[in-house]
Amino acid sequence: MFALRIEGIKKSFGEYNAVKNVSFSVEKGKVYGLLGPNGAGKTTTIRMITNILIPDEGNIYIFDEPAGPIHQNIIGYLPEERGLYKKLKVIEQLVYFAQLKGMNSFDAKKKAREWLNKLDAGSWENKKIQELSKGMQQKVQFISTVLHEPDILIFDEPFSGFDPINTEILKKIILDLKDMGKTIVLSTHIMEQAEQLCDDICLINKGSIVLDGSIREVKSNYGRDLIIIEFEGDDSFINDFSNLKFINRTKNRIEFRFTDGQFFVNDFLQKAIQSVQLYKFELSEPSLNEIFIDTVTKQELNQ
């Protein structure tokens, strides 16, 4: 069952086409990564899912119903630009946002306290937002996103502003939410996080999807053609090969790929063994980060 199904949505602002043609589906209970560079159209896409904007064309289905204001209550949205009322107390803030999502104030207060305690923030309840540090405000904002127990959660750069310890806590909470059967859309620039958390991803660039599928599929489609070697000795033998593209080159470690796509692996290995002391040889799949950069630059070159 798809929690979220998006079919050919488009959105322009005057002359500017923010989203040209985006379709994807998110299975219930999965973590879906919405990846792409700045200005790719991720936020506009999210705003259409959350019913802040209405698509010019195309359809959005939430649990197989055409998306509308009624679905706002079952979505929790953490925008990239965080926003809280500076003068409100933490608890008032949380209760108000939860009420806007349809909760009654009694349940909202109870849940808010539970979450504050869970995030070691129980003592902030009556502090005003402006008295809190940036990191503390981020926690409050995160709680406001999950408080009303939405079925679909949309996190836009959820880890920005968190220190490494809190980032780990948050990752665990996101995975816990997934285990509870929640569907999660995660928009991020940081590919390692996407690799760790997401089941499926799509890559948006310039308003269109350029890549999508499960992380496994995406990687295997890209091919297991990345070669990593670690060695000691004189690396000048490498200059005998003119068909190499270096991904990463340091004194004792090189990541590269054959530019003509053909595998001269045996050839290369022979030369290497003769020339240097070889510690490691790995035929690896590319990282998501590399795929991301590669796809975006290729698209840029094609235009």
């Binding site: 705003r47 959350t50 019913n51 802040i52 904007l53 209405i54 204001p69 009624i70 706002q72 209550n73 079952i74 979505i75 949205y77 925008p79 630009e81 965080r82 926003g83 809280l84 009322y85 500076k86 003068k87 409100l88 008032e92 108000y96 946002f97 009420q99 806007l100 999502k101 349809g102 909760m103 406001s144 009303h148």
Partner: protein, 436 residues
């Protein structure tokens, strides 16, 4: 699935706006301070009058050379002020400079044929003080001239007696004492109050919209409710705050007035002491004489509340639209001009509407919905406005409100998500046109 209806969301927003604003220090202070300022406005003139009563009178020395007892007649009008003397002019001059007296003048023999005489003072003293001397003296001289012309003194007295105009207002319940001037003042006051409150609460709405936009709160709220619900809830919530303040003010003010009235007329000296102290017009005397407060009708109060609310609703939606279009308050100035102008214009006309509240100009201006809140309440206070005019203004204002709401909602919906460039009127016009 949790499906909260649209009205429930609007209620949540109204409640939020209301409770956060009503709890704010600014609201509590201005609500309490308002009636206290009113009290001060009433009390200060009374206190000042009473204090100045105790002040020593200015002494004016008179050298009477007329041979007609004019100096004596002046003296008998006010024995504390005037002083008959035979001192020489140079002596008086010294006395004046040494502050023994405050002024002196010389009455020449040919006073009745002159049109001017000179009073010497140290300067200052106030126009009223000179005017009083002039009035006293003129009256005596007029008598002298008339009797010189051979008129019978009784006849002169008879001719000199003025007439005081007193007005009575005729209503269905019978005739009442008319407080036309007082009610004109009340109208001025109420019109000005509505003007200030429309500005105050309108900009409160605007600032609140800008706060949500600048702090990026709006994105979270917009993912929970429709832009129209957010804007409407805010306008109604803050309007309820205004209504609360007005009601508190009305109750406190009526309380204060009902206390001040009797107390003031108890403390205030009787009219006799006034006339003895300073001979003044009958009109002034009768005003000072009774601090009784004219009965303020419930319709005037209801009218005030209605015209404040309808004015607030018309303008606050527009203020909300302006707030949504900018990123910070400083950018709002230029866009506010088309809103602030129609609020200010009626203030310029208050004077002429009060002086002729039933004239064509007053009727036409007070029916223009953007001017109605201020000018209609002025007329309601100052005159008996025909029912059809009231009803027309109510209808016109309600439809104007709906129109403003419709336009503002379109601007708001686009504006809240636009950051960066400050929009021009042309951009905003485009938003209205393109919004579905």
């Amino acid at each position: 699935m949790n499906r909260k209806t649209s009205t429930a969301k609007i209620w949540t927003i109204i409640r939020h706006e209301y409770t956060t604003k009503v709890k704010s220090k600014g609201f509590i202070i201005s609500t309490i301070l308002g009636p206290l300022i009113l009290l001060a406005l009433i009390a200060i003139p009374i206190i000042v009058t009473m204090l100045s009563m105790g002040e020593s009178e200015k002494k004016i020395a008179i050298i009477d050379n007329s041979g007609r007892n004019i100096g004596h007649k002046l003296f008998s009008i006010d024995t504390t002020k005037y002083l008959l003397t035979n001192s020489s002019l140079s002596e008086l001059r010294n006395q004046l400079l040494n502050r023994v007296i405050d002024g002196y003048f010389f009455i020449p023999e040919d006073i009745t044929t002159r049109s001017k005489i000179t009073i010497y003072t140290r300067g200052g003293g106030g126009i009223a003080f000179i005017a009083k001397i002039e009035k006293n003296l003129s009256r005596i001289i007029r008598h002298e001239r008339l009797s010189e012309a051979g008129l019978d003194p009784n006849f002169i007295d008879m001719a000199d007696k003025g007439i005081e105009v007193q007005t009575e207002k005729l209503t269905e319940e019978g005739s009442k004492k008319d407080y036309a001037e007082v009610f004109a003042g009340v109208g001025y006051f109420l019109g000005f109050m509505i003007y200030m409150m429309m500005f105050m609460y309108g900009s409160l709405v605007m600032r609140s919209v800008i706060e949500e936009k600048a702090n990026r709160i709006i994105e979270v709220i917009a993912s929970s409710a429709k832009p129209f619900e957010i804007m409407f809830g805010k306008v109604v919530g803050i309007g309820a705050v205004g209504l609360t303040q007005v009601i508190v003010w009305v109750v406190l003010s009526l309380g204060i007035l009902s206390l001040v009235g009797p107390v003031a007329s108890m403390i205030a000296p009787s009219p006799d002491t006034f006339t003895a102290g300073m001979p003044i017009d009958g009109r002034e005397a009768s005003f000072m004489q009774n601090f009784e407060i004219p009965e303020i009708s419930i319709w005037l109060i209801l009218g005030f509340i209605f015209y404040f609310l309808s004015g607030y609703f018309i303008y606050s939606t527009l203020f909300a639209a302006v707030g949504s279009a900018v990123d910070q308050e400083a950018d709002a100035q230029q866009l506010m001009t088309p809103i602030t102008l129609p609020i200010i214009i009626p203030i310029l006309f208050i004077g002429s509407v009060i002086s002729n509240p039933d004239g064509v100009l007053a009727v036409v201006l007070s029916l223009i919905p953007f001017f109605s809140p201020i000018l209609m309440i002025v007329r309601v206070a100052a005159t008996d406005v025909p029912l059809w005019q009231i009803l027309s203004s109510v209808l016109l204002m309600i439809s104007t409100f709906l129109g403003c709401l419709w336009v503002a909602a379109k601007i708001y919906r686009t504006g809240i998500l636009m950051y960066g460039k400050k929009p021009s009127f042309k951009d905003i016009f485009k938003w209205v046109k393109l919004a579905k």
